[in-house]
Structure formats: C-alpha cells, structure tokens
Amino acid sequence: MQQQTEENKRKLIVRVCIGTGGLAAGGKEVIAAFKKAINDFCVDIDLDFTCHYQKVGCRGFCARDVLVDVVDGDKSVTYQGIKPDIAKRIVREHLIEGKPVTEWLIDDSYYAFHSKQHKILLKDCGTIDPEDIQAYINVGGYEGIKKILSGMTPDEVINEIKASGIRGRGGAGFPTGVKWDACRKAPGDRKYIVCNADEGDPGAFMDRSVIEGNPHSVIEGMMIAAYAIGSSLGYVYIRAEYPSAVERLKLAIAQAHEIGYLGNRVFGSDFSFDLRIKLGAGAFVCGEETALIASIEGERGMPRAKPPFPVHKGLWGMPTVINNVETLSNIPYIIRNGSAWYASIGTEKSRGTKVFALTGKVKNTGLIEVPMGIRLGEIIYDIGGGIIGNKQFKAVQLGGPSGGCIPHHLLDTPVTYEDIMQTGAIVGSGGMVVLDENDCMVNIAKFFLEFTQAESCGKCVPCRIGTKRLLEILDRFTKGLGKDGDIELLEKLCNDIKVTSLCGLGQTAPNPILSTLKYFREEYEAHIKEKRCPAKVCKDLLTYGILEEFCKGCGACLRACPAKAITGEKKKPHKLDSSICIKCGACFDVCKFKAVGRE
C-alpha cells in the first residue's frame, strides 16, 4: 500500500474542555493521554489521519466533564465523563477503527440540558480556542468593531444598543444604551470604560466562564463601548481568585495588540484604544461601582453616595461607564446581527438571553444560557433534569446575598427582571442555586448574612452594625435560643437597613431573610417555638443515637466517628455517647442500615 502523504490524510480534531470544570476533572491529563495513545499506535501502524487538539472553554455541562468532541470532517461526536484511561480506547476504536465507543457517548440528559437553551455568548465559548485570536476571527469576531469604524457614528451605535433593549447583566438591569448615552453627553477631557469582572457573588461563575472561554468578545465589546462614549482607555477589574481567566485575558490582549486590533488608530481609523487589567484583592463590595473605582485608584474599596453617578464623575473624577462582563460580551453580537435580531429574543421589557450558573441540588449542574421569559420550572426540571436523588424541591436561590429564595408554588414565574422582583428575589448576576428538602432555610439566610456581615465595608452604620445584629438573631435561632417577638424584630431591622444603607450591599443584605420569612415562616417558628430544625441541619437542635434494632454492628460508624463517641463490639449493636458526640453527622452519612437516628 502506498504511504499517504501528510496533506491528504484525514484531518481529525479532538476538542477538549479546559474550563474550570474540565480542568478539575482532568482536562489537561485527557489531552496528554490522547497524544500519548496516538504516538504509541503510530509505532505499529501507519495512521491514515492527523490529529489536531483544540482546547475549548466551558461547554456548560460541567456535571459531565471531561467533555470531548471528535470532529471528522463534518461529522462530530461528543463523549462525556472522559478520563485519561478511556482516551486510549477512543483512539483505537473510534479514531483508528472508525467505531465510536458507545458507552461514553453523551446521552439523553445532554440533549435535555441543551433543549431549552438559546446560546449566543456560550455558543462560541465551547467551540473556539480561547487562546487563539484567529479562532474568534474565524467565527465573525471583530466584525462588529470593523462595521462601526467603517461608517457608524457614536450616536448611531448608542441608538442601536438602545433599540436592542439590552439591560445590564451585573444585577441591577439598567438599560445599557441609556448609560452610554449619559456618559457620552457628560463633559470631560477623558472618559473610561470599565469592565466589572469582580463576580464576588458566591455561587456564580458566568463571568469567569465567558472570559475563560471567549475573552475576545469582552475585548470587542469594550472597544465598541469606548467608541460610543468617546474613550481611549479601558480597565478590566477582575478577581485575583480567577487566575486562569486573568491569564487568558492577558494573552488575548497581547494577541489583539500584536495584530493591531488594540492600540493606535485601530483598523486605520481615528479610533485608538488600549486596555489594562486591574486585579481585585478580595473584597465583595468592590463589585459596587463606586467602590470598584476607589479600588482601581489603589485605595480601600469603600462606596460613596450617588449621585454623582460614575457616568458623570467616575474613575479619576472622569465620566466612566462600568459594565458587567456578560453585558459587554453581548455587544459584538448585537452590532453584528442587528438590534432587531436581539430584541426578538426574550420578552418586551427583558430582551435577549441570560447566562445562569445552575448549581446546588439539581442533576445537571452547569452553565446555561436561556432566553429571558423562560419559566423557572423549565430551567430546573427540563434543563436541570430535576432534583438529585429524586428528593423534594424546596426553593431556588437567585441573586446570591442580594437576592432571595423562590418556593415551589412560584416555579411558573417567567425569568424577567420585573417578574422575579415581584417574588422578592432578583435576577441578579446569574447565580441560581437549587435547594432541596434537606436544606434549612434559616441556615441559608444565616449563611448569606455571615457573608454580607463579613463583607460589609464598615463605612455606614446601618450596614456595619445592622448586619451584625441580624446575624446574631439568626444565630440564636439556629442554637435554639430564639424568643417570642424575634421575628418581628428581625423584620423591622431588615426594613430599616434596606432604606438607610449607603450602597447596594446593605440595601439588599436583608433580602435573603425577608424572602425566606415570606415563604418559609413556619420553619423559623419551628426553630423558635419548638427548638426544632425541620430539615435537620442546625447542629445544636439535633441529637444522634443508634437504633439498636437496625444496627448490624458493622463498625462503619465507629470508624467514621472523629470524636470516638461510638463504642461496641463487631456484629453487636453499637452505642453512642451523646455527651461526647460533636454532632458532625459522620455516622449518619456512613450507615448503610439507617441505624443512626437524628432528631
């Protein structure tokens, strides 16, 4: 047989997810295993293909990582849950013998996960190599900025953004076009565009994934914004906790410089633009725009009273637009495809798509992008595949420490800014944490108050002292020390803090309490009146004991107990000394015979 030359061999692409989920599941090791397997086979057989490896950002379905695509011409096959040792089988059976390894192929849940999504930002996120600017250009990248530089005025750009109806994705939902317009009209020698990539909200990773998977869309969005408002310098304020996102962004900026997309006189026009990265130093409040400005200027990140708003008086006192990562990365797609296209997605007042980090007790956790107006229930049951272990759904938490919990009877609520606000939660930046029957709502409220209390910057009294008092009251509840009248006190304090705090942190900090009180009041009352935690989470309200009639004496609990509170001989019922027990629940978790009781 004639040896094939390199050029006329089949060209296969093996695409491996190296988003955060993919990396933690071993994405890099999987790539290495593919390379090694192919090299090993090369020695014995003359392969009739060449293989190109492509690293891609988050594909969304992190629960099934590592996800691997094998692309052969126009045929593409996706594998899930791939470990390095499976790579060898895929190389032999699929790449060499042409038979896909069926047991590792994606299954129905993969299709269900994608069925109701509408991917704009995330479409490119999982298919292009984020470390190669050319990959972004090949899918139409930088066409948006080229289009406006070759014939749109800043006002036309702003009108286009206004017409699209896009609202800020950082949480508040302020119309982006209106913000740009105000900044454009504000007097100032210099203007700035700032990308807010602080993403401090616990339970959220949308912005991280967009930057890791499609960094150039953010850069292009910032360029378009800069052109519209009349700025030539932008900053990306990004958390230091996201090292791989920072690296990708640095690389993307360097590549854009190299081919002249950033710098002086971009594409031969009069427009010049440069971009700097500022690393956050770990403070949630720095996501608030005035605090963020102070932090970029190198100071303590404390918010100040508004007005003046940043569009009038922002960075170094100059007019500044601050936009969220997701907002900015939508911009190139809007300019490329037109405002009418964007406005046709979603509802009248909430247009376009929204990215959510779907996590917690759902089966299909991951990153999703849905059209605005989709119902919460569709997200949790159709995309999310329902609750793990077929437990009862209890609530879905939206908006993190500024948001609230939405109960079962409101699962028909459409995801729009107005409808979600009605429930007492907020759309927020995109954290969506699903809770089941085993979650205690008082514990959840306390969890968020611990967070806001720790992150309160201390500048204004209502937030600094108020959140502390709220936390103390909740802490009493979880320890069985609640009193009559505490709930009323809690409510009054919440309402006072909401109206008197200086910035959004304090103004929204009571929301997790108010929304759980609204829908789960009886759970609070059980803690206070009966000293009982119905979900069996609050340690101090529980006692553990071994049910002798079920205990087989296997010794699992005895070995698991870190406090040595369990004694007993093999094959005889064990005993638990509650005076030593630290209520960690280890025995409960390991017992296979339901012989550990928890009350």
């Binding site: 989920g21 403070a283 932090s295 779907l358």
Partner: protein, 159 residues
C-alpha cells in the same frame, strides 16, 4: 529583601502605580507583607504607613504573616455550602489542628483557609490544594489527601 523592595518601588514610579500595586507586588515576591516593607515604602514614597495598613486589612488577599508551604482552601460559597463544604472545612481544621480560618500549622507546612466561592460551583463541593481544584470532594477524601501530603513532607524532611 531590600533589593526586591527597591525593584518594586522602581516599577511603581515607572508605571504610576498605587498602594494596592505595591502590596500586590510585595506579596507576589515574598508571599506576605512584612511590616518592614510597609515602613520602607512609607519612608521611600512619603505615604503614611496608616494608608498601607488601611488597604492591607481591607482586602482579604493580603497577609501580614508568612503563610504555610501548602495552602488548603475549602470553598464555602453557596453551592459548596449546600453540598457540605462546611463539613469538609471542619475536618481539615481537625486534621491540621488549627483553630481559625487563615491559621498556619506550627511547623509552617500548612495554611488552612475558607474561601467564598472560586467559581467552580458546578463541581461543588470544591477544595483547592496549592491552587489545584479538587471536584466533588468529601471530608474523607480531603482527609486522605492531607494525610498523604503530611507523609510526603515528613519523608522529605528525613531524607
């Protein structure tokens, strides 16, 4: 250390840096912010030391004490919390015999930290050991890894 600090001051002047820049560079180079560094910068750049302390204590990223050789961070963001992150944190604390978040073991080998979300929520609960993320962890598995690391450290010490 003086050379390092001089270099940071030089870059500060060149890049029109600020207090956060000085502190981030110092921590990057030395692993923490020694008191001498603050006074050195204060003197050299005529910035009151109080401004440095104000910034250092505001941001959780800065450390005024040296940190351990290995950093074990347990994520207690929302998704990790509801999937048992705090149980893991309790166990790590016990295994390392440290009392509070941010404490370093007496031998200087391990620092225990609780972090609020590293954005890996879909694979919760997550533990970061020396910046490598471990997905869907349990207290037992974390304990095993720490035991192994302790053994490696003591083997290395005796060799």
């Amino acid at each position: 250390m003086k050379n390092t600090l001089d270099e940071i001051v030089r870059q500060y002047r060149e890049k029109e840096g600020n207090v956060i820049f000085l502190l981030q560079e110092t921590q990057e180079a030395l692993g923490y912010i020694p008191e001498e560094a603050i006074y050195y910068f204060a003197e050299e750049l005529a910035i009151p030391p109080s401004r440095f302390y104000g910034v250092v204590t505001f941001y959780s990223q800065f450390h005024l004490k040296p940190r351990g050789k290995n950093i074990v961070s347990v994520c207690c963001g929302t998704a990790c919390h509801v999937k048992g992150g705090s149980k893991i944190a309790d166990r790590v604390q016990k295994d390392l015999d440290v009392a509070v978040d941010g404490e370093t073991t007496k031998d200087g080998l391990f620092t225990f930290e609780v972090v609020r979300c590293i954005g890996a929520c879909s694979i919760a609960p997550v533990v970061l050991i020396n910046n490598k993320a471990f997905a869907e962890m349990t207290a037992d598995e974390t304990s095993k890894i720490i035991k192994k690391m302790k053994k490696e450290e003591s083997d290395a010490a005796t060799n």
